[in-house]
């Protein structure tokens, strides 16, 4: 029997993504990946979350909502940059209404999941590092 040591609740926030990252995050809930078997779930409120998963390069209009959502997540908490845009190496970093990724716009994430969009199997592997506590900000794609 598989026993789960720690659960991890994720809250998603779109800060200007193209919707590709959302589709792959949603894929984790399908029976092919079944994220819940690992104690992972997507929750409706930041108050219930252990980690905030941000997609997109952080548009100016989403900068304040990002800060407010992050402040609503209780400690201890983790910040995840999901996809190249959030990681600061996407194609719209320089656009006038983009703040160039989570680190540049806000603060350094605890976990960076590179990819455009990242593939669900890889996402699962990376997110699970937050459960075991061995996350180190991985290098974004060149």
């Amino acid at each position: 029997m598989h026993r789960q040591a720690k659960s991890l609740q994720l809250r998603h926030l779109d800060a200007g993504s193209c919707n590709g990252c959302e589709q792959e995050l949603t894929a984790l809930t399908s029976r092919y990946y079944d994220m819940q078997q690992f104690g992972l779930d997507l929750v409706a409120s930041p108050r219930h979350a252990d980690a905030l998963v941000v997609t997109g390069p952080v548009t100016d209009t989403m900068k304040e909502p990002l800060r407010k959502t992050w402040n609503a997540v209780p400690r201890p908490k983790r910040l995840v940059a999901f996809g190249d845009c959030a990681a600061g190496c996407g194609v719209f970093q320089e656009a006038y209404a983009s703040h160039g990724g989570v680190a540049a716009a806000f603060e350094a994430p605890d976990l960076v999941i590179p990819g455009c969009p990242p593939q669900p199997a890889d996402v699962l592997k990376q997110i699970r590092r937050l459960q075991t506590g061995d996350e180190k900000p991985s290098a974004p794609n060149p």
Partner: protein
């Protein structure tokens, strides 16, 4: 080089000329602003020809078309926000994309500067239109949401459980894509165009490729046309499977939701093997398109159908599910017509418009627009069901053609390409239009008018009169991508 001829129209003729085209059954492609007080408007005539008119003016503004052609109300607000041109006589000139954080005088598309503005330290909310009176409550939802969806802000005026009015405040995802494209060379454009939207990406990529090929007078060889049809139809299946999975989720029909999600995953895994990307990013560019192995693809389509048919019978035979969808989120056909609605949302009201019937790319394919009838959630669901099956039929025919076909000669666009053109395709969400102006091989202006932009106002219309609890279902039945529209 083949630019589209643009006829200059006097300002006193601007309204009548455009109204006449609308009355003649033409479909609006795009209303595009340019630097130097210039607007261009492109219409698609029922015979498939495109007609273009331009308006130039001195001073601060141009005559607004919105009071007579409500479908351009958002286009004109966007132009006002990004260029600072004033549509005179516009009934509702509140900001659409701008927020109170934008510095005064910052009109990004009317300016050569590449500098990022210094944002004003304020909340980004714009004034909302609400209903006032005894017993009316204002309910604000978003911009962040409880599920995994894109950001958007909705202001509901409700009385009890009933929605009286919905005011849409979108464009939270506005990155500044059109400006980012300016100045790029033809090789630099594809990675950006691909990522305008993750759901309609092939359609955007194809529009760019067709625009360049049209300008260069290059006729894509037949093989490449079939390859592009394969990619466009693969994207339609992908996007429709996604929407068909989300609609049951909106009413808690988990079995239907999960089984459709699983079909989508199976499809994405196939696309990854065949084309190297689960969402078909970077698969079309001028002179080129990705090619998968026909036999493996045909085997994938057959495998999909084995899961599809039992799933379709299950959802079609579930009375409770249909009871939840019938009569909810109604769009009237005359409203769809008036607002220039496109795609599934328009066809579900009975309008038989599918851009594939006019696209030269599809000239060897018979496409019959799938029309639904009632204009409610159920109709939008059913139209998608049928369109998935039609796409599989088109895919099988196209793959048969490709099995024997040899690759055409390679082609790259000339370095000094110049001119202006418009290209369009039927994305999974409907008519998707690009207006492209090139100068010495670089982008001078790039305007993207996606299907979702045209259809968002309909979501607000369809929502009024329904229960608050049905909004997620209504929204999912349109499943409009935000990022396409916000750009």
């Amino acid at each position: 080089m083949k630019s589209i001829a643009v006829e200059t129209i006097e300002s006193d003729q601007w309204l009548t000329r455009n109204e006449l085209l609308k009355q003649a059954g033409a479909q609006l492609l795009a209303l595009t602003a340019f630097r130097g007080n210039r607007l261009e408007i492109h219409w698609l005539l029922p015979d498939g020809n495109v007609t273009a008119g331009a308006l130039n003016w001195n001073g601060s503004g141009f005559p607004s078309l919105s009071p007579y052609l409500p479908e351009v109300a958002w286009d004109e607000r966007e132009i006002h926000d990004l260029f600072g041109y004033v549509p005179k006589g516009h009934p509702d000139l509140r900001p659409l994309i701008r927020t109170p954080r934008w510095p005064a005088g910052f009109y990004p598309l009317n300016d050569d500067s590449r500098l990022r503005p210094i944002w004003v330290d304020m909340e980004p909310d714009n004034p909302a239109k609400t209903v006032e009176g005894d017993g009316v409550t204002i309910m604000k939802v978003g911009p962040t949401h409880a599920g995994v969806i894109e950001s958007g802000h909705f202001v509901f005026s409700i009385m009890g459980e009933n929605i009286l009015h919905l005011d849409l405040h979108l464009f939270q995802n506005h990155r500044g894509v059109e400006k980012s494209l300016e100045g790029l060379s033809t090789e630099e454009v594809p990675p950006l165009v691909t990522r305008i939207c993750g759901a309609d990406t092939v359609s955007h990529q194809t529009n760019w490729a067709m625009a360049v090929e049209q300008l260069a007078g290059h006729q894509a060889p037949e093989t490449r046309c079939w390859e592009r049809i394969v990619l466009l139809e693969s994207e339609r299946v992908l996007s429709h499977l996604n929407d068909l999975a989300q609609i049951p989720a909106g009413v808690g029909f988990q079995v239907a939701h999960q089984r459709a999600l699983a079909m989508k995953e199976q499809w994405q895994r196939g696309l990854l093997t065949l084309f190297g990307h689960r969402l078909l990013f970077d698969t079309v560019r001028p002179g080129w398109s990705a090619k998968g192995d026909s036999d493996s693809f045909l085997a994938l389509v057959r495998a999909m159908m084995r899961d599809w048919h039992p799933w379709r019978s299950m959802v079609e035979g579930h009375h409770g599910f249909h009871d939840r969808m019938n009569g909810v989120g109604l769009v009237r056909r005359d409203d769809a017509e008036r607002f220039g609605a496109v795609g599934v949302a328009a066809r579900a009201t009975g309008l038989a418009f599918d851009a594939r019937t006019l696209m030269p790319l599809y000239q060897n394919v018979s496409v019959k627009p799938v029309t639904g009838g009632a204009g409610d959630v159920a109709a939008r669901f059913k139209v998608r069901l049928q369109e998935v099956e039609d796409s599989w039929r088109i895919l099988q025919a196209a793959l048969d053609h490709l099995r024997e076909a040899s690759d055409g000669p390679p082609w790259t666009p000339p370095q000094d390409l110049a001119g202006e053109t418009v290209s369009y395709s039927e994305s999974p969400h409907g008519l998707n239009v690009h207006v492209v102006a090139l100068e010495e091989g670089r982008i001078r202006r790039y305007h993207v008018r996606p299907a979702t932009f045209r259809n968002w106002p309909l979501v607000a219309l369809a929502t009024a009169g329904n229960a608050v609890g049905d909004f997620p279902l209504i929204n999912k039945s349109f499943e409009l991508c935000y990022s396409c529209s916000d750009r």
